[in-house]
């Protein structure tokens, strides 16, 4: 057992922190939000230069061969600054799908291009009616000539508006809710028949509704085994949970620091409000929640490579619950302890609050994962 960072990990964290400190102040971020894509192409290029975009990819594909813990540290830094770029969508979600299911050719074509900052992907799986159910899939891919014809729609696809390539799940067999019969496809986002409506989520990050109407995809577009994509989709979602959990930890750290600062400087009744024990204890409880949440984010990262499916899924669910509850507690109390100013759009707390809120409602919320855990009580 070992909680030390390696020299490489320390260097990584330091260089990312410097980059973000220079480029991701609250006011700077507001400017980035106004860009047409809702994030910064310039910073994306800088991430590529630093090697961040290929961090978890193998060196054979232009990556760094980094571990899940490396990604965790990076996401934590991103969380502290509410980074807007499509890292989760492209590198974590699509990257995981490619690594787990991609053929040699598919990986060779896409991973180095992602690492170089030249390609951006989105993972289009969840549908409007599905809520968090991974097998509730109405989108179909029917055989058509030498390939398939895609029909259906995907909802709240993270950074689906700016991706050039989509990884789309669709039924090649079976009916709604069947675990078998799901396949993944690599689809050019500019293909005829695809309509995209981009929008901002509540935290300012981008997503899209996608619809597929008689979209022709060639046979080579199949990513992984036909009819048997569910295990891959699960792993992709788990990677998303681990990365998002780390981001929430970063956001909680930022909220905790801002709140402490506020408690020490805001004066009421002639003294800093932090001298009131009711508020002091709330601050201590926030810290306790943050540390428990941090432990759970570590658990998620360290469990990603666990080969035993049941064990891995169970621990990832525990992490999602733990981080979800910690995130709610810390963010709600951060706003409360700030009072009125915490409610304003011009103050940063509310933005962190909304990031945590959005993540809680991705990849299965607290109730969903607690319910899965309840299933497994033995």
């Amino acid at each position: 057992m070992d909680f030390d960072l390696t020299e490489d990990q320390r260097l990584l964290t330091d260089s990312v922190s410097r980059l973000l400190a220079d480029n991701y102040g609250f006011e700077q971020r507001k400017q980035l939000l106004k860009a047409p894509t809702g994030w910064s192409e310039t910073l994306w290029a800088q991430y590529a230069e630093l090697g961040l975009l290929g961090l978890p990819f193998s060196e054979d594909f232009g990556g760094f061969g980094g571990s899940a813990v490396d990604v965790m540290l990076l996401m934590q830094s991103f969380g502290r600054h509410l980074v807007l770029e499509p890292y989760l969508a492209t590198v974590v979600l699509a990257g995981t799908a490619l690594r787990l299911a991609g053929s040699e050719e598919q990986q060779a074509e896409l991973l180095p291009a992602i690492a170089a900052g030249e390609r951006r992907l989105a993972f289009a799986h969840y549908e409007r009616q599905a809520r968090y159910d991974m097998t509730d899939l109405l989108t179909t891919a029917k055989p058509h000539g030498d390939g398939f014809l895609l029909e259906g729609a995907k909802s709240v696809v993270l950074h689906g508006d700016s991706a050039d390539t989509l990884i789309v799940s669709a039924r090649t067999a079976g009916g709604r809710d069947d675990a078998a019969g799901i396949s993944l496809f690599l689809v050019d986002a500019a293909s005829p028949g695809i309509a995209r409506r981009g929008y901002a989520l509540r935290d300012g990050s981008r997503a899209a509704e996608l619809s597929f109407s008689a979209v022709q995809v060639p046979r080579e577009a199949l990513l992984g085994e036909q009819d048997n994509a569910l295990p891959v989709i699960r792993r992709v979602v788990e990677a998303g949970i681990a990365a998002g959990a780390a981001e929430v930890v970063g956001a909680m750290e930022a909220m905790q620091a801002m709140t402490l600062d506020y408690l020490k400087t805001r004066v009421q009744f002639g003294k800093p409000i932090g001298e009131n024990q009711a508020l002091q204890h709330r601050a201590a409880e926030m810290m306790i929640a943050l540390e428990q949440g941090r432990s759970m984010a570590m658990l998620a990262a360290m469990m990603l490579d666990e080969p035993n499916d049941a064990e891995r899924e169970r621990n990832i669910s525990m992490a999602k619950v733990g981080v979800g509850q910690a995130g709610r507690f810390v963010s709600q109390n951060a706003v409360q302890l700030h009072g009125g100013i915490g409610m304003t759009e011009e103050y940063a707390i509310g933005h962190f609050f909304r990031r945590v809120m959005v993540f809680e409602h991705l990849f299965g919320d607290t109730a969903y994962h607690l319910d899965r855990l309840a299933d497994q009580v033995a």
């Binding site: 057992m1 070992d2 909680f3 030390d4 960072l5 990990q9 813990v69 402490l260 408690l263 020490k264 932090g274 001298e275 024990q277 002091q280 204890h281 601050a283 201590a284 409880e285 810290m287 306790i288 540390e291 428990q292 949440g293 941090r294 432990s295 759970m296 570590m298 658990l299 360290m302 621990n315 525990m318 619950v321 733990g322 607690l370 319910d371 855990l373 309840a374 299933d375 497994q376 009580v377 033995a378």
Partner: protein, 401 residues
Amino acid sequence: MDLRFTPEEVAFREEVRSFIAENLPRETRERMRLGYKPKKQEIIDWMRILNRKGWSAFNWPKEYGGPGWSAIQRMIFLEENLAAPAPELLSFNITMLGPVLIQFGTQAQKDHFLPRAKNLDDWWCQGFSEPGAGSDLASLRTRAERDGDHYVVNGQKIWTSTAHNADWCFCLVRTNPNAAKRQEGISFLLIDMKTPGVEVRPIISIDGSHHLNEVFFTDVRVPVENLVGEENKGWSVAKYLLGNERTGIARLGSSKAAVRRSKEVAREVRMNGRPLIEDRPFRTRVAQLEVDMKALEITQLRVVSAFAKAGGNKPDPISSVLKVKGTELLQNSSELLMDVGGPQAMPAWQQELAALSNEPEIGPDWAPQMAPAYLMLRAASIYGGTNEIQKNILNKAVLGL
């Protein structure tokens, strides 16, 4: 960063587990599994078994008869001991007095008391709290006045756990009532409970047990060689004692055992015509506890490994996180277990029967200790520094408020 235990740590756990399995007296294990507290003699016997193995002073350095374990090994050992379940090591002897004497004691004190403490030849208790000095310990008033080669002690201690079993008491007493700061007039004394003038009166707690006491001192003569550290410097000794490594403070093994037990009993009892274990709200409650225990387990590993890296001698205020969450979990898991028992957990027949002879027991064997455990654990967030005091510590020492 790696959460997994090393093969050496796994092997160590296995060694501890099998030693406990082979050496813990069967009757003790069986009683404790049903939730009964170990009897005095069972605790003594178990401590001596561990001492023969060289493990009872699990956190002392090798030169004083400790096993020389790493912080991780100590944590594993305590966890296995709790999970067995085996009687806990008498903390007064092992985690409180031992480290204090090693740090502050004279050679004669070390030579005499340490070997006896780790073999439980002397049962120690802690004379800190007083009726007017609870969380505000520094306001204590028990007086010790120098008279030749003795201190003469007068005053009262309260909440003194196991004083009725104890041979000795380590005590905070006021040696200088006129010190500029209250903390500066306090000394740390070792008092033989057999000394004339020491009187122990029981306090029965809400679980019906006799665990707590009041201790009265009337002209109790204590030889000056029983002073630990310097006169009037007892506060730093006490601070060292309270801030000393608190590896086991979360007592996760106990919470785990209670949850495990809840699931076992939930297979036997029913809810709406089905085994309780199949009831959704019950399962969700268990799942939530398991999430919280997992988080605390990792937090504890982080604290322990950070502590080990820091050289392992500085009190770590983060251990207050372990105290708060650990005791919340103890309370929540004991609550769950009692709720599983339901009405069967409510009869107090045991206390009445205990006074009688060999009357047969009433009700299922899993029931009698559920409510007492729940009741007694309300104290977990009070003793050892209330959870509110722990939050004050976090504010001061970590958050800077």
